[in-house]
Each structure stands twice: as C-alpha cells, then as structure tokens.
C-alpha cells in the first residue's frame, strides 16, 4: 500500500490528516507486517479519523464495528436471517426437509456483520473496531481468532478465510485494560497530544480563515492548559472548536475578555474553568 514512511505522511496529509512521525511509522509497519493496529490515546486526538484517512488513501471500503457494552457475536460476526428462513420454508411446502435444510443455511440467508464483511470479498478494506475497551471481555476472545488468522468459522458453512487481509485499526480509550493476548497480536500506537508546530498546522488546515498570529496564540494557550493539572484537559478537537469560535466571534487577537468568554469551549468542568482562570490571571483586570 505504501512505499515508505514519508509516503505515508504525504498521502495522509492529502486527505487532510496530518500525521506525526510516530503515527506515520506505525501505519507503515502495520501495512508491511500485516498486523492490526491498536491505537490508544485521550478522546479527541483523531484515533477514528486515522482509520478513515487510511481508508481514503488506500481507496478501501471502511467497515466499522462500534463496540458497546453487550455487543455480541450476532452483532459483530454474523447472524442467520430467521425471518427470511421462515418465509423460505413456508414458501416451499412440498419439498423434503433435507432439501429445505441445505437451502436455508446458504449464503443467501446469512447476514454478515462487520467482522465477517471485512474478511469476505477481494476488494481492499479497512476494518475499524472502535472503542474496543467498551466491549465485554468475551468479545475479545472473538477478536483473537479473527485478528490472528483472519478467518471466521460458521458451523453450517465451514471456515471462511480472508483472501485479502483488511487493514485493521482498533481504538481504545483505556477505560478498561485490554487483555494481554489481544495486545500481543497488535502493533501498539499511543497518540498523545501533538507538539506545538503540528497542532498549529492542524488548526490552520481545519480553520483556514484564522490568521497565523492568532493560531499561534491559540495553540500556546492550549499547551499551557494541558500542562495544568486539570480534570479534563482540552484535546485537539477542542482546540479546533475554539479556533472556530474565535473566528465566528471575529476576534482579531486574544485578550482577557475574549478568553474568559470562550473558555467553556475548551474546558468542560467548572472546577477546571476556575483553576485555569486563576492561573492565566484572567481576573487581573
């Protein structure tokens, strides 16, 4: 898919995803070694975006499995279409049971769910397993077979093996410790907050109307907030939101009034707002 690490960053940048060297290297390796990519990091740093960008670059279809508490085999892997099977049985009244049985357990009645969809077919695919940590431990066991051998066993049909391996991205917010076995099968990538220069480029890209000096100040203040010990530090998504807000307000430069009025975009807890105001001397006037 990619020829070099630089190729990865260049092509991801074309789709509007600015990758740090760590991200580009790991994506390159995941492609070359054919291993799933486990992405961890705080909310709002672009974990899901990465999978979308890779899919766009590769011209691949994005197959997404959104995990939640209680997601199970029939939601993740496959399910038999019972209603259609019943219709089929009642439609063919005079055939024998053997005929009916071989027919109703055929591909026509199989409802493929994301994991099976990603494995079948020859077109390139990117499989995104989002918020893996929200799923129950049992689902991890299911993922192990799929991710190590890229095959799924359907008892009535036999084992289906991938003819073309999908590029797999798993994301996690680390609200639960994923099992060691699952981690072993993946390349691990931690996306943290970007450095100042990269974040400035992201802001400039996402909010083109913002002038350079203001973008610089925005990123510096967000950087300072992250260095404080807050309950929820602002993420890249919040930085971009803030930049949008400032643009909408038509603020040409930052001053106490503007920052105080818009701090709520960056910080989501009242305690944090109070603390940040104190540290930034917002009440100095």
């Amino acid at each position: 898919m990619f020829t070099s690490v630089d190729d990865v960053s260049a092509r991801l940048a074309e789709t509007g995803y600015l990758a740090s060297p760590a991200v580009a290297t790991t994506v390159f390796l995941a492609d070359r070694l054919g291993k799933p990519l486990l992405v961890e990091g705080p909310a709002g740093v672009g974990k899901t975006e990465l999978a979308k960008a890779v899919a766009e670059v590769a011209g691949a279809r994005l197959v997404r499995l959104q995990c939640y508490e209680g997601v199970d085999e029939s939601r993740a892997l496959y399910e038999w279409n019972h209603a259609k099977q019943l219709l089929r049985i009642s439609a063919g009244r005079d055939e024998t049971w053997d005929e009916a049985r071989t027919d109703i357990f055929s591909e026509e009645f199989l409802l493929t769910r994301p994991l099976l969809t990603a494995i079948r077919g020859d077109d390139p695919k990117v499989l995104l397993i989002d918020e893996t940590d929200k799923a129950d431990v049992e689902v991890e066991g299911l993922l192990l077979e799929v991710l190590s051998d890229f095959q799924v066993t359907v008892p009535e049909l036999g084992t289906i093996t991938a003819t073309r391996r999908p590029f797999v991205v798993l994301t996690s917010n680390a609200s639960r410790e994923l099992s060691e076995a699952l981690r072993r099968r993946c390349l691990f990538l931690h996306i943290g907050f970007p450095d100042e220069e990269l974040e400035r480029r992201i802001v400039r890209l996402k909010v083109p109307g913002l002038d350079d000096a203001l973008a610089r100040s925005v990123v510096r203040i967000v950087g300072a907030l992250r260095a404080m010990d807050l309950r929820k530090v602002p993420s890249v998504a919040e930085t971009v939101d803030w930049a949008h807000t400032l643009l909408a307000l038509g603020a040409g430069s930052l001053d106490e009034t503007v920052v105080r009025a818009t701090l709520g975009v960056l910080l989501k807890h009242q305690d944090d707002v109070l603390k940040a105001s104190a540290k930034l001397d917002l009440d100095a006037l």
Binding site: L29, L33, R183
Partner: protein
Amino acid sequence: MTTPAGVAERLTSLVGALRAHGMRIGTGESVDAARAVGELGLADRELLREGLAATLLHGPGQRQVFDPVFDLYFPRGVGGPEQRAAGREDLRDRLADALTADDQQMLGRLAIEAVGGFGGYGSSPESDGWSSYQTLERLRPQTLLARVRDNVRGQGGSTGFADRLLEDEIRRRIDTFRAMVAAEARRRVAERRGRDEIARRAVAPTADRVDFLFAGQDRLAELRRTVQPLARKLATRLAARRRRASRGSIDLRRTLRGSLSTGGVPMKPVLRRRRPMRPELVLLCDVSGSVSGFSDFTMLLVQALHDQFSKVRVFAFVNRIDEVSGLLERGRADPEGLSSRIQGEAAVTGYHGSSDYGMALGEFAERYAEAVGSRTTVFVLGDARTNGSDPNLPAVRQIAERARRVHWLNPEQRSRWGTGDSVAPAYAELVEMHECRNARQLSALVARLLPV
C-alpha cells in the same frame, strides 16, 4: 528482508533490558521488531525508535522506560565530540540563543558538548565517569530564564495575551535540555560500564512500580494523574465481582427443604439470595511526612471509588485523629494541595509532630466508635512506626471486633516489619496486614480486598 549483522544481538539485549524492567515481551514481539528493523532500515534513528516501540510495547506507561533504554542500545553517536568544549560563559551564551529560538537540534548538540566539557569526573579508569548533576550544577541553565525571556520579548516574538505564558514555556524548554543532558551522561557512562548494567540500574522504572516511600514529588504527581483511570478500571472489576457474587452459592437448607416434595431428590437447587447492600468504608490514614505520599494516593483512589459504597469516611492522623472526608470531597479539583490542606485545616498533631499510632487509634476508638459497625470495612494505612510509644493494642482489638473486616496496608517491605520502632508484627497478629509498596500492588490489593 534480512537484518544486518549485530543488530539481532543488540535487539535481543534491548529486549532483555526491557524485560528486566518488568515488561512482558515475548519471542513473537522480538521477531516482529526485527522485521520492523528490516522494513525501516537503520538510516533514521527516530523512525527506528517509533518502529521498535510499536512492536515491543503494549501500553502507554512503558514508553518512558523504553526511550532511555533505546538511547543506550542505539546511541546517537559513539565517544565524545572532537573539540574541547569552550568556556562556561560561551556555552551559556549559545544555550540562551538556542532556548530563545527553541531549536531542539541545537539544544541536543549543546547537551553533548556540556557533558563533555563539564560532566567528567575522576581520573583513574575505575572511578571516572560522567555526571549530569555536575554538568547542570556548573552550567545552571535555570538562571538563564530572565535573559531568555527578555530576548524573546526583544525580538517581538511574543506579544499580547499569550505573553503571560512565556515564562512557563521557557521553563519547559530548560527542562527538556536537562533531560537531554541526563540522557547524554547516561550514554557515556554506559560506554564505560557496559550497557546492560546501566540499562537496569540508571533507568527509572514505570511510575506504578516505584516505592511510595521513595517516590519524589514529580513521581507522586504522575501517580495522582493515574488515579481516575485506575479508579475506572477498579470499578469495572468490582462490578464484575459483584455480578459473580450475586449468583452461584447454593443454599443447602432451602434446597433440602424443597427436595422433600420430590422424595428427597433435589431437583431444583435453590440459590442463596443476596441482600443487596452497599458496604461502608472507613479509612484511617497516617499522614505524617514519611508515608504521606502513600496515604494521599490511596485517599484519592478511594475517593474516586466513592460511588461504589454507601458511605466512605476518611480519618487522618499523625498523633491525633480527625475526620477529613469533607476536605477530600471539596478539594477534588485540587489533588496536589490535599496534604497541605489536611495539615492546615484538620487537627492531626498534638503536642509534637511525630506519629503516634497508639494515641491516634485510641482516640479513634473513643471518639468515632459509632463510625464502625457490622457493615464497615476498615482500612488502616501506615508503616506502624510508633516512635517508641505504646502501640495501644486494645484499641485495635476493639475496632477489629466492631468492624466487618480490618485490613492494614503497610507501604514498607515485609522484611523490614518489626525492625527499629516498627510494631507491625504486633498489629499484624490482630488484623490482616498487607505489604503495599507501589501503585501496582495497591491496585491488586484494592481489587481483591474491597468489599462488594
């Protein structure tokens, strides 16, 4: 796709060093790492670093051990720079310029030069070495702050609102430089002493494996940041235990009673019905200097878990005891100020400042006896060092009789219990005492001992 000769050995010894730091890295990962080296080549060191990190590591906390170890096994260069370092003032001038421009590469070069010029000590081959401490003492980069600030302002590089952040930013740049100096000194020492030994000894372990008693300020701050994620993990684990506990467990009496209608054959096992109740928790924390880091962390952790219990009451003591539940709750936004608030607002010391378990526990049994009931689990946190005073065992016995369970978490290693003024063995006879030296042990204990 072959790896160049010598790289395989280097890779395996890197893996060995990481394993010595408690990381679980299997052969499969080593093979993947070698394949990654084959794909990425050795030309770009930073790419190699990211590639190895992606294949060898499994969690974010491991990165800060990995980076220094990587620097030792795949060093930037060998030996020192050719030219002798220039004078101290000259170096400081150039350092100020680099800090003004925030030029990372220049800072790196200056760090190498600084260690070469000012870090060497000793003259005989056995006792000489390189010291980052000595380098930084001579160079004193922190004193450049005002100068760099004026430089930046002079250039007009920073104006308006963001200007007030300037000092903090420069402080952070100086800290980066200090870290660079430390890495360079470590690299040079490793050349002398052998890489494996330095990788084991001179690289700090991950925060959750640092002993509470020896953790510095920054390590404790790092630990405090892990409280919320850890609490979330523990809460899911407790919920799982609660689920499991609510089924299973056959009620023999009712099963037999039910079997009478089927001629004594127990057709339907009757399960014990659980009365839903939320357990209560009482924490008694020694907050005297020596163990306050441990107590702080545990208090914050329990506070973060408070919605798992019907009631959490926290008491702090040095030689007198006082309730601090309110202080904890109100100060959730400001965890680093917790210990100073407790020292300032709660009456935890009497006539002197050293800890006295006997007196404090006695006072608790007297004044707050109603806090402990049949549903209460009591945790005592402390090293059980009474400074030679009476341990007051009857008070502990009284608490243990009233409470459902009493656990004592001791941050000292087990082999030191009972040495000096420690009365740990005496207390351990009355209540269960557990060794709890670091955050990893604590989270294991909390997951196991907390009542469900």
